[in-house]
């Protein structure tokens, strides 16, 4: 099968790979929307959605009941509803921008996924690691930031084209918030890349290399960057919350003061696109965080996938190794998504001026100080 696959033309192969990744992302994004409802319910002492059931499934003795309690069919019902609902187009909107805004949110989210490595396999001699990634470009993290920064246009356009007060305020908030936190975010990851580009090396901003640096077995090499650079990780995480518009930073749509924020005027399918885009952003953000700070596809600090391969003698099964690494990676991403929800139901929303103050007065100086500290530390170490 593998041989057949590699004999395909590269364009088709790329298409198939992309399709495979999208086919994983979409269900995760969908499941996240259900998970959000479930987690919020559980944290509030409720069972959450647990009623909808398709009659055929109800006939399955144990599983059917379990799936019903899990609320799985609510997901299908929600999706069906959003698809079949009438699509309103308010009369006062700017039609062109109003229509493309939701799609603009999806495109950057799915484009950034192409440069995020999500697994790895080794050739049989265990010599070279092949990261599993759609496009292993050398500028990895820059590409993520660059394309990710385009996501703001979706929100801005949605708010502006809606031609009504609350969406407008929401989009103004979004544009300021996103550009403010981008700076701290970028500064926070710099130490990581300085660490992996110690003087004399090739120089690379590739994300796969970051994971490589976290897959050693000796003390510093095996340590995940979250332990090595806790402050960087913290700043990045906070900025990530702000960039993905998640509580406590969901200024653009804070429903308490802005009704629905930038998507107030949206409904049905277009609204659901915003929804999917938000989760796609969360997934990409989580994936980047996992790659940068949580050791990527390595199961534990000092226990890289390579050790697993040695213990279980998987040298000749690159396919299995790849799947294992993807599974580990996905598990971490899912934990991160859970963490997003966990925080959402723990912290109240910041006020807008507080968001700005945290971003500019606290996070940015902290990020700069952190950067200087690591510059000195790395210079002393090498």
């Amino acid at each position: 099968m593998a041989d057949f696959y590699f004999s395909l033309p590269p364009l088709l192969r790329g298409f198939l790979q992309g399709l495979a990744v999208v086919l994983v992302i979409f269900p995760i994004a969908g499941a996240s929307s259900l998970a959000e409802r479930k987690v919020s319910a559980w944290i509030q002492g409720r069972p959450g959605p647990n009623r909808a059931i398709v009659p055929w499934f109800a006939a399955i003795p144990f599983l059917g009941r379990f799936l019903q309690r899990l609320g799985l069919f609510h997901l299908a019902a929600d999706g069906g509803k959003l698809l079949l609902k009438e699509e309103p187009l308010p009369g006062h909107v700017h039609k062109f921008y109003y229509t493309i805004a939701p799609w603009l949110g999806l495109i950057p989210a799915f484009t950034t996924i192409t440069v995020v490595p999500f697994g790895a396999y080794w050739d049989s001699a265990m010599q070279t690691m092949h990261p599993l990634v759609l496009a292993n470009v050398d500028i990895g993290i820059l590409a993520v930031f660059a394309i990710g920064s385009l996501g703001v246009y979706s929100v801005i356009l949605a708010g502006w084209s809606s031609n009504s007060k609350y969406p407008f305020i929401g989009s103004i908030r979004a544009s300021t918030q996103l550009s403010s936190y981008e700076i701290s975010m970028t500064l926070a990851v710099l130490p990581v890349f300085m660490w992996i580009n110690s003087p004399g090396s090739d120089g690379s901003l590739s994300l796969a290399r970051v994971v490589e640096f976290q897959s050693g077995t000796h003390f510093l090499g095996g340590l995940w960057f979250v332990f090595l650079m806790p402050l960087s990780a913290l700043i990045f995480l906070i900025a990530l919350f702000a960039e993905t518009n998640r509580l406590p930073f969901d200024m653009p749509e804070s429903e308490a003061d802005l009704v629905g924020g930038f998507h107030t005027e949206y409904g049905a399918f277009k609204w659901s696109l915003f929804f999917v885009a938000e989760y796609a952003h969360m997934i990409v953000g989580s994936a980047v965080f996992v790659v940068l700070f949580l050791g990527g596809w390595n199961p534990l600090p000092w226990v890289p996938v390579a050790s697993l391969v040695h213990w279980f003698h998987l040298e000749n099964l690159p396919f299995v190794v790849g799947l294992v690494s993807i599974a580990i990676f996905l598990a971490k991403v899912i934990f991160m998504i859970f963490f997003f929800m966990w925080v959402r139901w723990t912290l109240p929303r910041f006020r807008y001026d507080q968001v700005m103050r945290i971003g500019w007065r606290r996070l940015l100086p902290l990020a700069i100080a952190n950067l200087i500290f690591y510059i000195i530390a790395i210079a002393l170490l090498t």
Partner: protein
């Protein structure tokens, strides 16, 4: 004596407190505990709340322990009902109940419009026969307006039988027979 005001000095926040991080961690701990705590939701149609005595639910008609109709169709409840939810069509006591023939009247039809009823309980208050009670039925629903009107049969189904201390009409009958026997 004037109340003494004790001024508490507000302690300046420590550095850890000013970063908010310990507080956030504590909050996360609390919420994760709730995540695994038993759920408090009552899953309604299957599980029902326990209704305590004295609850003012849907007004119903009740029968006495012998299974006999208590309402005498005096129409006081119809008269007192503030939103005019009750409509009574008076009638004769059915011929197959000779022991109740001295009651003279019984409702032929008795309708309570639950779209009008405000659950005030005045009908129960006013009834001289203790025939109408607001009991523990708390959920009524229907697809049409007509289905929201409880007729006599339905009212008795909902009401059932309640214990009766007086058996007023039995005693009247006994008194009547005793009096007649004396003359």
């Amino acid at each position: 004596m004037p109340a003494t005001v004790k001024v508490l000095e507000r302690k300046p926040l420590s550095f850890a407190e000013r970063t908010y991080l310990p507080q956030i961690a504590a909050g996360l701990k609390t919420t994760i505990k709730h995540l695994f705590a038993p759920k408090v939701t009552m899953e309604y149609p299957e599980q029902r709340p326990e209704i305590l005595p004295g609850y003012r639910g849907v007004p119903t008609l009740v029968m006495d322990p012998h299974g006999r109709e208590k309402c005498v169709s005096c129409q006081l409840c119809e008269f007192v009902c503030p939103p005019k939810a009750i409509r009574i069509t008076p009638g004769e006591v059915p011929a197959d109940q000779p022991e109740r023939s001295h009651v003279e009247k019984a409702p032929r039809e008795f309708e309570i419009d639950m779209l009008r009823c405000i659950y005030c309980g005045l009908c129960q208050e006013v009834c001289p026969e203790e025939a109408i009670f607001l009991q523990n039925v708390y959920s009524t629903s229907g697809y049409t307006r007509a289905s929201m009107v409880n007729n006599k049969q339905r009212l008795y189904e909902l009401g059932g039988t309640l214990p009766d201390q007086h058996f007023k009409w039995d005693r009247k009958k006994a008194a009547e027979t005793a009096g007649n026997a004396r003359h």
